[in-house]
């Protein structure tokens, strides 16, 4: 068992070998590069769904705008004050830093969790693309409470798209990632043009004189669609804050910020966050209101700007699913001994395709995004404590590296314990991650303090 785990750990290390060493000073990048890098992010297929859901959840216009401004600002601060400083000081990816702290056994569990979460996300993206085509060819719409597929036609489209996306991910991820990057500005344009083209249907005057009145009475009018939970200001603040939780508080974006010259480059995430998680969400809200609040990304884009709207939804699904499938393959390759990348991507693509047949994953996207961040958040808290708090407690850092641990059990207990507490915590799902982060950080610091002498003593005895 121990040797098998050791083999798996070695394979994981080989996959990440390229990033093992801290980034050298000659490879650091300037602020402009980061501004450009983030500008292309955060405009994805999810934006078509999330912005529309805010309308269905009956958010008032003022709450939405102020909530998004504040929530996105808090997300930017999280990148700037939590993620970027650790990345700049260590110059390592989360993988290697976590390995020093938690050990290869912990990384194995983390990779599997990450791979499964990515697979569900990619499945939701394929579902969004499938809605575009199914609406276009006239299949019946998917009810908001649907869990299982609603028609054989829907399944056929989802399977076909899933297989296409998987084949593309296998055949030419790198070349097509380049093509995907040029889709981003055009997709952002589709959001803006689609919203502008949808405005006349809502009764906006050509001189915009009744813009606020229409937006606050016909789009975000404060009345939830029957069957949908009513959202207010704080739900929006927290959603905008946590929708990239795994990246900032969960520290995944250490992979990017290890190249930053200064920690304050985290502020450049604003170039992506505000266009994607503010303007694009507002635009999709306008488009869904213009078709009578029916959640159908394909139809709302088609009604606004014709077939290029449909193309945008399909491409948005693909450009998000493609790197997600790649990441799923990468995460799961570590637990599939000696499998080539194509085989791992094929199997993860098949699983993702199967998941995409269930509309529940995109119809519950807001909750899923909350869960996704929540599951990975405690790991970020562990790294935060190990980096900042543990030295102040006078304890030696990086127990897994120092003592050759396969699993840092205090870290594992923190992760599992936090998730158990999050499950039973009597508050809205969107708010749970914040107290849970403090619980995780406090719990891990306490366990490290209590167990500080044991590992040292074991090493001394040896």
């Amino acid at each position: 068992m121990a040797s098998k785990l050791s083999d798996l750990a070695e394979q994981m290390d080989q996959l990440n070998e390229f990033d093992r060493e801290p980034v050298s000073p000659s490879k650091l990048q300037g602020g402009i590069k980061f501004a450009g890098l983030f500008a292309g992010e955060h405009v994805a297929a999810t934006e078509f769904v999330i912005g529309a859901f805010f309308v269905l959840h009956g958010v008032a216009a003022k709450d939405l705008i102020l909530g998004l401004l504040l929530g996105n600002f808090l997300a930017i601060l999280s990148w700037t004050l939590v993620c970027a400083p650790i990345a700049v000081q260590t110059r390592l990816t989360l993988y290697w830093y976590l390995r020093k702290i938690c050990g290869p056994g912990f990384m194995l569990v983390y990779n599997i969790a990450n791979g499964l979460l990515y697979a569900i996300l990619a499945g939701a993206m394929i579902s969004v693309s499938a809605t575009a085509i199914s609406d276009w060819i006239g299949l019946p719409g998917t009810p908001l409470d649907a869990v299982l597929p609603t028609s054989a036609g829907w399944v056929a489209i989802a399977v076909l798209l899933g297989l296409c996306f998987t084949a593309i991910a296998i055949l030419g991820f790198s070349a097509l990632a380049n093509f995907a990057s040029i889709c981003s500005p055009w997709m952002f344009f589709v959001f803006i043009a689609g919203a502008l083209a949808a405005l006349p249907r809502l009764g906006i005057a050509p001189d915009f004189s009744n813009l606020w009145e229409v937006l606050s009475t016909k789009v975000w009018n404060g009345q939830a669609t029957p069957g949908q939970e009513q959202y207010g200001f704080w739900q929006i603040v927290f959603f905008a804050w946590f929708c990239n939780l795994a990246m900032h508080i969960g520290l995944s974006d250490m992979a990017l910020f290890r190249y930053a010259k200064k920690p304050w480059y985290g502020l450049f995430t604003a170039t992506g966050v505000y266009p994607g998680h503010f303007l694009a969400w507002l635009c999709s809200g306008i488009m869904v209101a213009a078709i009578g609040r029916e959640l159908s990304p394909g139809r709302m884009a088609y009604e606004a700007i014709g077939w290029i709207g449909v193309l945008a939804v399909v491409l948005a699904g693909w450009t998000t699913a493609n790197p997600t499938l790649y990441r799923t393959g990468l995460a799961l390759q570590s637990v599939t001994p000696n499998w080539p990348r194509w085989k791992v991507t094929l199997y993860s693509g098949l699983v993702t395709t199967a998941l995409s047949c269930f509309p529940v994953f995109f119809l519950k996207l807001l909750d899923y995004v909350a869960l996704y961040g929540l599951v990975l958040m405690p790991v970020g808290a562990v790294v935060f404590v190990e980096h900042w708090i543990v030295p102040k407690l006078g304890i030696a850092q990086y127990p897994a590296e120092r003592f050759g641990l396969i699993v840092n059990w205090p870290a594992m207990a923190t992760w599992i314990g936090t998730l158990v507490i999050a499950y039973v915590l009597p508050m809205h799902l969107f708010y749970r991650w914040l107290p849970c982060w403090f619980i995780a950080a406090g719990g891990y610091a306490l366990m490290r303090y209590v167990s500080r002498g044991r590992s040292e003593a074991a090493v001394s005895r040896a």
Binding site: W186, A193, A197, I204, P206, G306
Partner: protein, 60 residues
């Protein structure tokens, strides 16, 4: 030079597309005209941006 020209044309096409959508909103353009122009904008964007993306000097 070619790649810079391509990205300039591509960027201008999107700006023009935004302008067309605004004109439609003001009632100065019919819907079929808007859709035709947006289709053209999309074509120009993808041709020019693709040429730019594959011709530009690769960093690293």
């Amino acid at each position: 030079m070619v790649s810079k020209l391509m990205i300039l044309i591509a960027a201008l096409s999107l700006i023009a597309g935004g302008w067309f959508a605004l004109e439609y909103m003001r009632g100065e353009l019919t819907r079929p005209d808007l859709l035709t122009r947006l289709n053209l904008v999309t074509l120009v964007w993808f041709v020019c941006a693709t040429v730019w993306a594959y011709k530009r000097p690769q960093s690293g």
